[in-house]
């Protein structure tokens, strides 16, 4: 009887340890991703405002716009942030479920508003802040649902 119980306990302890180890690894990666993504968006916003508004009156407009866009240093800084974000996100997805990662990064919506107010001086109204808070709350509700709803469990 003892022999039968022991392996089961070991498996449980082993599972708990594995789960804690995964959480310790996952949290810093999620924090990194909720800063890197929004920072990339804000740097891109800064660069694109210096390029000027996209207008598609003539087909050559798009070439001119592309040329001005690709010669903006802010764009390349933003691309660096996005690449770093993408690498962190890819690494996360090798061990964590997409349905776990997506809600955990809900705070990125708040970070992006905070950074665009701080770094770009955008006027984020109370109504917009409320909308962003509601979005974060909604993403959290989605995250609390079962990750698998098709096929056998």
């Amino acid at each position: 009887m003892e022999q039968l119980v022991q392996p089961a306990e070991e498996t449980l302890i082993g599972h708990g340890h594995h789960s804690r180890r995964l959480q310790l690894k996952t949290i810093p990666f999620i924090l990194l991703s909720i800063v890197l993504g929004p920072l990339g968006n804000v740097l891109l916003g800064k660069g694109m405002k210096s390029v000027g508004s996209l207008r598609l009156v003539h087909p050559s407009d798009i070439l001119l716009f592309a040329e001005r866009t690709f010669t903006t240093p802010w764009l390349w800084l933003a691309v660096c942030c996005f690449l770093a974000f993408f690498l962190v996100h890819m690494l996360l997805l090798t061990w964590a479920d997409y349905s776990y990662v997506q809600p955990a990064t809900a705070l990125a919506y708040a970070t992006v508003a905070l950074l665009s107010w701080l770094l770009l001086g955008e006027n984020v109204s109370l109504l917009r802040w409320s909308g962003i808070a509601v979005i974060c709350f909604g993403v959290l509700i989605v995250g609390r649902t079962s990750p698998k709803t098709t096929g056998a469990a």
Binding site: P38, N41, V42, L44, G45, M48, K49, V51, G52, S53, L54, L56, F65, T69, L75, F82, L87, M90, L91, L93, T94, W95, Y98, Y109, V112, A113, L115, S116, W117, L120, E122, V124, S125, L127, R128, S130, G131, I132, A133, V134, I135, C136, F137, G138, V139, L140, I141, V142, G143, R144, T145, S146, T149, T150
Partner: protein, 124 residues
Amino acid sequence: MLQVILFFFIVVAGTGGELCVSRAMKSIGEIHDFRPQSLLRFVWRALHLGWMWAGIGLLSLGFFSLVGILSFDEVSFVVPFSALSYLAGAIGARVLLGERITRSRWLGIATVTVGVVLVWWSKR
């Protein structure tokens, strides 16, 4: 009109791209080794997957649409508005993959959509 087209690509191509990348990553499996040469090997392996390239193509389309829209719209408006991808993702999963979306998940998605409407309202 241009704003609507660009938002469409940000939401639909962005969501599709993420799902493709997620599928590619799952086929590689969990990463334990974070040394630079192992990370490079991981990227190299990922670049040999068809799903990865489909994901990169769709994410690029979403990215260039974001570049275009940020030339005339505020970051604090565009990024929260793109949370509409939750609604697009659920509809896509329901229609294309036949996934069953639970009532509580619809509630979350509806809440996100209410938030997006508030953000859109803040622009008017």
